[in-house]
């Protein structure tokens, strides 16, 4: 109606933007989205940017990868290298390797894009990992976000798969040895291992098929899955609205932050360019994966100090930590526990990671939606479990560099391995107890500050000659930040409707006791009043 009026009164004043917007809206109805989403509040915190780092580095991976496909040839046919890199001239290598060298040495800017692609991929996986840790330690996986945690987990696994298939493509010595390790691991799987290896490599290792097959996975199947899952994952962030930390005015029922248009768009959009710029700077300055130093794949040579890309480290490290002799012939078949145990251990670890939100929900029995992010200290057991998981992962990861640790720090190979074996088994337990104690201590300190104020640094001499430091009470906003959390208590078992106590209930009660036995509750109004009156009483006594 109003548009019609505008048209009739002042048609000459209509800007091009207005006309174009109307044209598009008449055909798409896009105004609904802009009106609905444009002023959406987006809670602010530096840790919320980690997921964005992952998203933005993925854009770099996608764009730079598309450029690379115009030049890379995924063929294992043998050619004699005849490019610009003199030391390798005349060397027999696969077309894949030769075309990767051409990208690096014969196409201007090719090395830059290749390095951007690789660095961005490393950052992509790292940012996903940190983002997962943020979500874990703030409890942002609680209802209604459990399913999005699963999607995010799948993205983490897919990102690692993308990484591995990608760095295997150049068919250089390092990546070939990586594939050799995969082949050896696959062959160690009972019953299906040998055939799986032959299906994967199209016959005997290394064969002439694997690069082409990994290429299909790397540029078609896996990216399609990643893009689809990112769409779902980010879509759910919109549907759920982002979590926020507790603060004055922030309720479980609202979402407070700068509006998407314009501030969030400016900050997040700018941040996207900053991430791209940082990746570009690293690619301009630092070499990554110098395949010309490794040479083409050959099953016989290998260089000392071989390292996979960082995110494969934990799996490689797990292989290294198995003590000698874990392989048996039984029932006329070979049981390679030196391969099965790492595979199973990593499998269990990943299942625990993806399943944790459901375990915690089951223990708590809390069916409410949670939109206020926990401070890690206020969920001591969860934080301690997370620290244990991080320690386990870090132990495996460090093991992937066991040889470098030994040479750099002049230690024995055996000593490093034995120390890391201990780290992987005992480290998580120690990390668990230390973290739990630290969390509880921090919670106690928070209580102390709420009840008795913070140290003002002002020393006062009382008439009786006693010196005291004046404690300043918190204002109500700062106090709210320290008291607005919920604690949980252990489950009391009660008989169900049929008067029975099920085994499941018993298990839940004991897990619940483990979780919530040591519980620090937030300060209540009554406690604060009590603290004040007792404090006055003390002062009075000194006066008296």
């Amino acid at each position: 109606m109003s548009t019609a009026t505008t048209r009739s009164t002042a048609p000459e004043k209509r800007s091009f933007t207005a006309a174009a917007s109307e044209y598009v809206n008449d055909r798409t109805g896009i105004a609904v989205a802009i009106k609905g989403l444009g002023r959406k509040a987006f809670p602010d915190h530096w840790s919320f940017l980690l997921g964005e780092v992952a998203l933005f580095s993925f854009v770099v991976v996608l764009v730079s990868g598309t450029f690379l496909t115009f030049f890379f040839q995924a063929s294992m046919a043998e050619v004699e290298y005849d490019g610009s890199y003199v030391p390798l001239k005349g060397v027999e290598m696969s077309v894949a390797m030769a075309s990767t060298l051409d990208i690096s040495f014969d196409i201007r800017g090719g090395l830059f894009v290749r390095q951007m692609h690789h660095w961005a991929a490393l950052l992509f996986v790292a940012a996903i990992g940190l983002h997962m840790l943020r979500v874990f330690f703030t409890g942002a996986f609680r209802k209604p976000r459990e399913i999005n945690w699963v999607f995010g987990f799948l993205l983490f696994v897919l990102a690692m798969a993308e990484g591995f298939t990608g760095y295997s493509l150049p068919d250089d010595l390092l990546s070939g040895n990586g594939l050799r390790i995969i082949d050896g691991m696959v062959k160690g799987i009972p019953l299906i291992g040998t055939w799986t290896s032959f299906l994967l490599f199209g016959g005997e290792f290394p064969g002439t098929a694997i690069v082409g097959r990994l290429y299909t996975l790397h540029i078609l199947l896996l990216p399609a899955l990643v893009v689809a899952l990112i769409a779902v994952h980010v879509g759910y962030v919109f549907i759920h609205k982002h979590t926020q930390f507790a603060g004055p005015g922030r309720q479980p029922t609202n979402s407070v932050g700068p509006p998407i248009l314009p501030i969030y768009a400016a900050k997040a959009g700018g941040f996207m360019f900053i991430i791209w710029g940082v990746i570009s700077l690293i690619a301009a300055m630092f070499t990554i994966n110098p395949i010309w130093n490794y040479g083409p794949y050959d099953p016989s040579p290998v260089s000392a100090g071989t390292q996979p890309d960082w995110y494969i480290g934990f799996a490689d490290g797990a292989l290294r930590l198995i003590p000698p002799g874990w392989e048996f012939v039984w029932l006329d078949r070979t049981w390679s526990f030196n391969i099965l145990v790492p595979l199973i251990a990593i499998g269990i670890f990943l299942v625990l990671v993806v399943g944790y939100p459901f375990i915690e929900a089951w223990v708590k029995g809390d069916k409410r939606e949670h939109h206020i992010a926990d401070r890690p200290r206020n969920a001591p057991i969860r934080t301690a479990i997370g620290a244990a998981g991080v320690t386990f992962y870090a132990g495996l990861w460090a093991a992937a560099s066991s040889d470098l640790l030994a040479t750099h720090f002049s230690l024995t190979m055996e000593g490093v391995i034995n120390a890391l074996q201990a780290t992987v088994i005992l480290g998580p337990i120690i990390a668990y107890f230390i973290t739990k104690r630290v969390c509880i201590a921090l919670q106690k300190k928070d209580r102390e500050i709420v009840l008795h104020g913070y140290e003002s640094g002002r020393i006062v001499k009382l008439p009786g000659g006693e010196f005291i430091e004046v404690h300043q009470p918190l204002d109500e906003y700062d106090r709210w930040r320290l008291v607005s959390f919920e604690s949980y208590e252990p489950l009391m078992i009660r008989p169900d409707a049929r008067g029975k106590i099920t085994a499941g209930q018993r298990l839940r009660a004991s897990v619940s006791r483990w979780f919530f036995e040591d519980r620090i509750a937030p300060v209540t109004r009554g406690e604060l009043e009590a603290a004040h009156s007792s404090h006055h009483a003390e002062v009075d006594t000194t006066h008296g």
Binding site: G202, T253, S300, I339, D366, D496, R525
Partner: protein, 358 residues
């Protein structure tokens, strides 16, 4: 399960607002004290320095557009660098310069936009926060009821639950139809190969000469000095039309010479060495990396991938690391001309373990 939690619902019901009731659900074992603090509401808005000081606002404005202009400069520089730093000269240094200067231009272009936009957002755009009201994620009961009704109606109209034979046969068909697609993937591996057979044999035959990798020169026993180690492949490997790497991945051998007295051959293997010269498979029995590092004074071999260590003087048995089996030994001798030759193929499959190995 919810009802037997020591739930705090009744505690909070008294003073819960309407909005909180929308989110009602069991609190599980959460403790909600009656006299918990109340949310004090929003803090008063604090103006930024650019809101109060026009000079600072001007400065922020200058910073933002300078950054955007720098970005344009970066883009132009990147294009110029593409042309100014050619790399068609077989010169690695030229590649480095091209990479660095194109990269710096692109970096400037990107960071200029990035920092400019963030600075604009943080210092100049209105800093008020907006507040969204959250609604429960779940649909309203009426919608849920409507969905249930749609499904019930669809079931009734189709007879999906009623006509069980049709339903079950459809489920069967749906389960069976993807199976051919799975079977098609059998073609990933060649039809005419037997994996176990292939994994059990290598190129080595009785009389095959040991040759240097990669030159292919045969090795005279007299040329192998004590303490030396050679990377060895079978004679004829380089001339293979197909499967060169596949054969090499099985047949690669390490040749070492020790004092004969330092060798402790296992029973039955006394004549597999020649005058202290021994040949062992180079392919690790763990997951197949080349066992490439030989420590001369200890006679230990180390796999650089997972640090399995093998004792050459003791039949290459494992002394440390995740590998279980000793490296297979290639029995060797010398031919009439004094060249080292294999007595036979390996007596067991080389390389990583596999299920059918025994």
């Amino acid at each position: 399960m919810a009802q037997d939690d020591n739930s705090g619902v009744d505690l909070v019901a008294a003073d819960s607002s309407h909005a909180e009731q929308e989110f009602a659900g069991s609190t599980g074992t959460a403790v909600i004290p009656r006299d918990a603090f109340e949310n004090p509401g929003f803090e008063p808005h604090r103006p930024r320095v650019t809101d109060e000081n026009p000079k600072r606002e001007k400065r922020a404005q200058r910073t933002v557009y300078t950054l955007f202009y720098l970005s344009i400069l970066g883009s132009v520089w990147a294009i110029a660098a593409y042309m100014l730093f050619p790399m068609e000269s077989n010169d690695v240094g030229a590649v480095r310069l091209n990479n660095m200067f194109v990269g710096i231009g692109v970096t400037l272009a990107l960071l200029g936009i990035g920092f400019g936009a963030v600075h604009w957002g943080k210092s100049l755009m209105t800093s008020a926060e907006s507040i969204d009201i959250r609604h429960p994620i779940s649909s309203t009961p009426a919608t849920q009821q409507g969905a249930v009704e749609v499904m019930r109606q669809a079931d009734e109209e189709s007879g999906f639950s009623r006509r069980t034979v049709i339903r079950n046969s459809l489920i069967g068909a749906l389960l069976a139809f993807p199976l051919p697609a799975v079977v098609l993937f059998r073609g990933l591996a060649p039809q005419d190969q037997l994996p176990v057979e292939l994994l059990s044999h290598t190129m080595w035959r009785r009389g095959t000469r040991l040759t240097l990798d990669p030159s292919g020169t045969p090795i005279k026993a007299s040329d192998v000095t004590i303490g030396s180690a050679f990377h060895v492949v079978p004679e004829g490997l380089a001339e293979l039309e197909h499967g060169k790497l596949e054969e090499k991945a099985k047949a690669a051998v390490l040749l070492m010479r020790l004092e004969p007295s330092q060798l402790n051959p296992a029973p039955g293997r006394e004549d597999w060495a020649y005058d202290g010269i021994v040949a062992y498979s180079k392919i690790c029995t763990h997951v197949g990396c080349p066992v490439a590092l030989y420590e001369q004074h200890t006679h230990h071999l180390l796999c650089p991938c997972h640090q399995s260590q093998f004792d050459v003087s003791n039949n290459c048995e494992v002394i440390f690391g995740p590998a279980k089996r000793a490296l297979p030994q290639l029995p060797i001798a010398v031919d009439d001309e004094g060249y080292l030759v294999a007595q036979s193929d390996f007596n067991e499959p080389v390389g990583p373990s596999f299920w059918e190995r025994h």
